[in-house]
């Protein structure tokens, strides 16, 4: 069970900023900047962060829907980044994606039957009868019926469309599913249905999920481990229980305290961080979070903290837990002592 299915090392994705008529590159948006993590077989890794933190780019770069700038993505021991287009297409049979917007990710001119058949055609199931049977089988698995195969996407509600999106991802018997905000466009009551479905499917087909979302409640519910991203970097990664009980990074702490809890009597310590996320085209020096961090030290503006294991299975990138940071805290104490 604890065998890594996917290993990401030093992954970077820079988008060039072009200016002028000849399109000279004047800089880069560092959408993801040197991230490393692994996903074990059968587990769910949640990736959380606010808009613009690079969580969706991470998902797309793993699939090679976006070409990585640098780094290694190892799936079952094979490096995806160096594969030819032909090879990667074969691997995508094992890695499928579920998208956020069930309205935009289904072709409005195709029937559901055709949409679900497509992945089978691409991956070489040539027998038409077999394909049709499989379509019906999977429609039933995600809680729809046989007659739905003849309908068009606009005839379905948002929740049903997301079920279709999930069925499409399952058609090729994948091992890993990358779900990019699969429930954020849905209403609460429908969201719960889709989350339950995803959990049932995981057990039934022994699936591994990378679950990308901005909703911390949803991520906690579905994930075994969680990675928190900020401005293109992973700032903290650990078991989901541990992260919510004992967040180490000041950003994670602020993020957790900012989520409104549906209980008027729940008193929490609210850490409201000021300001906005800086632009990834022009990230701050040192730690990217120092512009908003309540515990900022001198060292934070100079040296970028690296993700390091603070406790077993709990890594954090913050100077509060590094040697440089400790030196700074000591210095601060001495300074205060001398005044």
């Amino acid at each position: 069970m604890d065998k890594p299915l996917l290993k990401v090392e030093g992954l970077k994705k820079y988008f060039p900023i072009r200016k002028g008529i000849i399109g000279k590159t004047v800089g880069h948006v560092k959408a993801i900047d040197d991230i490393s993590f692994h996903v074990n077989e059968g587990e769910t890794l949640g990736i959380v962060g606010e808009s613009g933190c690079g969580k969706s780019t991470t998902g797309r770069t793993i699939m090679r829907l976006l070409e990585p700038t640098e780094g290694v993505v190892e799936f079952q021991g094979r490096d995806l980044t160096s594969m030819s287009a032909n090879e990667i297409r074969k691997v995508r049979r094992d890695i499928q994606m579920v998208f956020q917007d069930p309205y935009a990710s289904l072709n409005p001119r195709h029937t559901i039957g055709k949409i679900l058949e497509e992945p089978l055609l691409v991956h070489g199931v040539s027998n038409a009868k077999e394909r049709r049977e499989k379509v019906i089988e999977f429609l039933k698995i995600v809680g729809l019926s046989e007659y739905h195969a003849k309908r068009y996407p606009h005839q379905f509600s948002g929740g049903q469309r997301q079920r279709i999106g999930i069925a499409r991802a399952l058609m090729t018997n994948p091992k890993l599913i990358i779900a990019d905000e699969p429930v954020s466009a849905l209403d609460v009551s429908i969201q719960a249905q889709v989350l339950n479905l995803m959990q049932d499917l995981q057990k039934e087909f022994n699936l591994t999920y990378i679950f990308i979302a901005h909703d911390l409640g949803v991520v906690r519910h579905i994930s075994n481990r969680v990675a928190v991203m900020y401005l293109g970097k992973i700032v903290e990664i650990t078991e989901s229980e541990e992260l919510y009980a004992n967040p180490l990074h000041p950003y994670t702490q602020a993020l957790l305290s900012a989520v409104p809890v549906p209980d008027p009597n729940y008193k929490k310590e609210q850490i409201i961080i000021e300001g906005d996320m800086p632009s990834p085209a022009n990230p701050p020096s040192g730690c990217a979070f120092h512009t908003r961090c309540p515990f900022k030290m001198d060292v934070c503006t100079k040296i970028t903290p690296v993700l390091a294991e603070e406790k077993t299975g709990h890594s954090v990138a913050c100077h509060l837990y590094t040697a440089e940071g400790n030196d700074d805290i000591e210095r601060q104490k001495q300074l205060e002592g001398s005044v």
């Binding site: 606010e50 009551s189 989350l195 409640g217 900012a258 989520v259 409104p260 809890v261 000021e274």
Partner: protein
Amino acid sequence: MSERQKLLQVKDLQTTFFTDSGEIPAVDHVDFYVREGEILGIVGESGCGKSVTSLSIMQLVPSPPGKITGGEILFGEEDLLKKSEKEMRDIRGKDVAMIFQEPMTSLNPLFTIGNQMKEAISLHEKKWSKKQITDRAVEMLKLVGLPRAEEVMKEYPHQLSGGMRQRVMIAMALVCDPKVLIADEPTTALDVTIQAQILKLMRELNERMNTAILLITHDLGVVAETCERVVVMYAGQVIEEAPTQEIFKNPCHPYTRGLIQSVPDMRDKKDRLYSIPGNVPKPGSVKKGCRFAARCESAFARCWEETPQLYRNSDVHQTRCFLYDEQEGVTTKDGQATVES
């Protein structure tokens, strides 16, 4: 607390959309009120009529196809529905102001923030000098916590972040000291850390300026943290109304209960989420009986036949569900059956 005056009363409001495929009653006999200085939440899922209700109050429902077909909207003593368009224009912004979900689309990209702020003021304060107007605009931007307010006056909407734009919208809505602020999903498009900032700002403004706020949202967490009282809507109707404390402690309508249970709680992990089966019905598709009956675990024969009314659970709590109509026949003078709790 309860003696505070009712500032805005919506009585028996009906808003219908007349489309090619028939009449769609988006808001169906809705009643509620907002008291002075209170924050009232309207919560419900997409298509429940919460946004159309707020647009109806401002009379901004796109017409055609929409039309307010009945009811009263009392602001103080006056019925807003009897006002002419010209009179409404004076009321909007001055007495009742509104902010929308998308701060990007509700600001004009071609004009500076200052320009748009000043326009809002000069429309209502016709006698003010240019200097007075500019000062007021800057003062409001500072009030909503925008750093470097003077510079922001000269900037265009695209130069600001989402959170800053929403602050500008709030500042603009408050320039004329409205008594009621209608906020339609003000934080839905924002990230959680920015949402926390904006909600804090709204609570502060509510306390400091005593502006009543009608907060429309789908997020029960936002309601729990911000609102004093809650109205829950489902398929165009109010199905439950109670103070926030009460509704989370003792939710009565099966839909409210299901909704609260469906939210994944950050504090403790359940193996399986509770989920309400089925989908929200299309407005107007349920012709007979309770609109929630098809998804309800406690539905019985009567639910399919008759449409329930709002039954009182206590002085402050009412629920549209036959489960609270045990003593059928005990009717108060306003035509509502009561249940002793």
